[in-house]
Symmetry: C4
Subunit: 350 residues, 4 copies
């Protein structure tokens, strides 16, 4: 449907962007509610691994956090801005690293074009994107160049490769003067990646300390899902963790980040930043994550839909929608600034 839309005419509302994405995705159904039910087990594809429960659980748990309204407050306006490692962003919402748009969504869009539209769209609303990585050098280098083209305002993500493969990537990211460098260390548990031509390896606390020493930039570890893991990340010197089950795509039947977010916050407190992702679909969802203890969130699939459906303009439209929703949730719950969003502003129903 809508196959005869003119390419390049950006849609001016989110529904049009999403409808456009739906017409371009031949693997992802672009369901009304993106919750992992229809696509369960579809990897490659947009689904959660195996039973798909880990993806579905992300959405399900967020739906079981409810907002506590209170409008008896002073009459100043709401401000959603925050700081991300000395960069001011319009809201604590970042684009997750995603690659393989063709394989996973069935959309004719190469990863380089994808990354450029993504980064531009994020910067248009004054927030940041994470770029991706892959087993061939160019899969890391080309997204990096995009980030550099846009003022180095973004975060490179590096898989936990063995030895030199990891080292030169960190050095390249360091040289690019990015906002921060991330590593999605949960990839180390994937059998096929441990056996690939460029293999990943498990990173112990000692190994992570060595990575830590390779860069002066903030180091972010992605794929933490336990209090123990968070403590080890802290011991290794990480500046931030991303509590994440990787959208349910690396371990069937894993818990959701929301199962463990409050415990991690209690254990880690303010000693490092806590980011989270998984199933976030609205500004109210962002609000919930912050109330549960996160300093910020990453959004994955819907931002991919935004890029596919409307390029950087689609990303802008999507993120403005999220910001408006976040702002209204804050207004209704009596929060004037991001740090006002505390655990007593929600009721956790699980």
């Amino acid at each position: 449907m809508n196959e005869n839309r003119e390419v390049g005419v950006w849609m001016n509302t989110w529904n049009e962007v999403y409808e456009s994405a739906r017409s371009k995705c031949h693997k992802c159904r672009c369901c009304n509610v993106c919750n992992g039910v229809a696509c369960k087990g579809e990897t490659p594809g947009p689904g959660g691994k195996g039973s798909g429960r880990a993806f579905m659980r992300n959405v399900e748990l967020l739906s079981k956090v409810a907002l506590v309204m209170d409008t008896i407050v002073s009459n100043e306006e709401v401000d959603t801005s925050t700081d991300f490692f000395q960069t001011t962003v319009s809201m604590p919402v970042y684009a997750a690293p995603i690659s393989g748009i063709l394989q996973n969504y069935g959309a004719e869009l190469d990863d380089l074009t994808y990354t450029e539209q993504l980064v531009k769209g994020c910067l248009d609303v004054n927030t940041l994107a994470f770029s991706g990585d892959g087993m061939h050098d160019h899969m890391f280098l080309e997204p990096l160049k995009v980030l550099q083209k846009y003022g180095s305002k973004g975060i490179a993500t590096i898989k936990p490769w063995v030895g030199e493969h990891m080292k030169w990537r960190i050095e390249a990211a360091e040289a690019a003067n990015l906002v921060a460098i991330a590593s999605d260390i949960d990839a180390s548990g994937l059998t096929n990646l441990r056996k690939s031509k460029t293999p990943v390896e498990f990173k112990s606390v000692e190994a992570l300390k060595e990575l830590r020493a390779m860069t002066s930039k903030p180091l972010i570890l992605k794929g933490i899902l336990s209090v123990e893991g968070a403590k080890k990340a802290l011991e290794a010197g990480a500046d931030a963790i991303i509590v994440s089950n990787h959208g349910g795509r690396v371990l069937d039947d894993s818990i959701s980040a929301y199962d463990v977010l409050r415990d991690i916050k209690a254990a880690v407190q303010d000693k490092m930043k806590i980011l989270v992702d998984g199933g976030i679909r609205s500004g109210a969802d962002v609000f919930k994550c912050l109330a549960l203890g996160a300093d910020g969130v990453l959004i994955g699939r819907p931002i991919s839909h935004a890029v596919i459906g409307g390029g950087s303009e689609g990303v802008r439209i999507y993120l403005e929608k999220i910001q408006l929703e976040l702002k209204e949730a804050m207004a209704m719950c009596g929060c004037k600034k991001i740090s006002d969003i505390t655990i007593d502003k929600v009721k956790v129903l699980f």
Copy 2:
């Protein structure tokens, strides 16, 4: 269906009234069970905002309160009457303020005619209605005139407008000598209303104290949904609060009043009246609310259906049905008067 029914021939049973409403509503489906599922996200329309979960949660939580039967009691008859700020009412059940019948239900009924039929129907069974408000002066003044025409036996509701817009409305309500004056302060969190020609604003405790000082009438604050909010309302000098998520129409994913009603009762005790609304569909539901700590309840959508389907006669039929159901619930649970309906008369299954 039933399009050729003669207008003005009031139905004499609730099912006929509801069937008539169904034939006249072009946006609301008038489902067999009015629970927010079919209409989720339909605003304008009768639905809950966004995911619709806040509306659905109202109905769901009430369905998870069960009555504890006990008929070993003395043989006196059940009395449902109570006092509402020195007015005796036949039962603690009031009509919620609703406007925009055409936009939300798709029924050809202007708000003034709606209000008149509503007020008349409530008085016919000896209870009271809340009237509505809007950004144009006449949207407040005309319903007020209706209340005056019927002996001032009702409550005017005023949005939390800025400065003078609020002041003259309170003065007009005061002059009309109504039973009480209410303000649905939760409207202050709505971005579009804060930016409208006549804007609303957040009301702090100090600002509410100023409103309090403007009238000698009982002041009711509507849209409280937290213990903290209830305490602030008390501090501001309110005579009553309405614990409410506004039928799920102002904040997606908000908690339900029933999530917090018992805690608010514990915090506030008898220092001010506690009213509640959301998803109440039967006399048993009224019983549940009172058992959970409310002094009275407001009913919204079903009473709109009653007005649309049968005018004041429809309201009378609906409220008599509610009263009969409340009376039987009280009889089966060994309650002779409203104050006998205590927390031990229900089992809360959530």
Copy 3:
């Protein structure tokens, strides 16, 4: 379907009996699982009142009690027999009082014939039936005559009528030398019965003590659903109570007997017998009730199906099935006799 089956040819297995019942019931659907879902709100009819939740809750809660298997026991056979007020019965399973077969099931069977087949069927497997009552004298007297014809081996049930209407019924039951006399006192809360030509009334503890004094027979109070009610029944001198929500037919949204059975057992202990009913469909269900604290159970709807589908022979077939299932549940859980069925033999999942 099966309309041309010959009347009077009793079926020899339960499925045939049930199929026969299905062909004869024009109001009850005789669902594969009799759980109150399809017939919700159908009164008259076989359903639960209003939302039907009270009926459905009975079945649902029983489904949430699970049996704890243990077969490491001595090698003696299982015995399901027990004592009911000095009468030995083959199992603690009794037929509930039911009337209005035509109105509620749509089966062409008058209540007198129904009662005779019921009583005969119960005695054939050596257990007992409760007979019913109604606002006309013969509705009590004729079932009573049936019980007398079968050796007075049964229990008469009397509604909580005012004054003389109650008195002569108790005297007649006393004269008939029955095993026990019951009163379903929950009927006192029904508005239409309180206003009928022969009205019921609420019975206080004092009023129940008067009834108690009218007969030397064991007195059973039916329709207790709270600890408080159980204590009052004990104070009034009752020999047994039937914890029951009346199959969900007297109070919409009432709790189920299973919500309160353990608490009542803890409060009452062995000071009076505790019977229970609601949603019991198998021998495993009987086992569950006994484990939760009951001394015996009543079965309603399925026994009506048995009578309608196969007369006394249908009742025999049904009750033999129940007994076999009870026996096997006991065998698998290491219980040799009824008193071995204790709370540790089940896990309660609600």
Copy 4:
């Protein structure tokens, strides 16, 4: 479908094996997810007994255990091997004793051929099978011969027969020098088996001690489902128990092994081996069982599907799939060896 596949051409992937099984089973539907829903009550057939809830509960509870990911670990490879009574196996996953393939699955496969393919397939991946038993001597002896043919590397299962019927079987198993001898003592509660030509009987602790004394081989008691039962098995001298509700086939509404596994582990600790079965469908499920306290698991229905669909090759393919999944679950959760799989590696959501 696929009826014209050539028999004997073994499939080389699990999906092909399962599709082949589906084409050969005329009673079992070989559902995409084998969870007991479609076949509930179908015994004979593959279903759970009666309501089928005991089967369904197995699958349901496993789905409510979630894995706690942690990849910050040393970089050594994962090892799934373990010891089973002095035999090293590639993983703690064994084939459950199953007989009656024709009656239960509707597949044209005699039990002897079934057993041979099963045993061979298990040994091909270096693990072990349990053989079955029946009321005729050959139903025990022929499977026993198969085990002997394959180096006696397996476990014979004996029903709790009375006297001599049990004794000669144990002696024959002893003489065959098997890895261990098991008895599914839960069969003693089945009425029809207690009344069969060769009857079973309940085995008390004393009776089990006598069995214990008859053999020098490890003795495994199958069908334990309570802490009390586990303690009695320990007292009787058992070397291992299999916590099991027999796939929901012996007692409707029984609890699942997973309801009681942790409590049994706490009570028994390391004094005897704890095996478990019921609803295990993936390597992640195996991981969950081990985390809950089991030393190993048995898999039933899916291995039957494997034999039916692909003979020993099907079993090999299935078990290699399970091993790969187990290995990846261990990798993602930071477990290098089986004993690393502890309770903190999962979150139990029931």
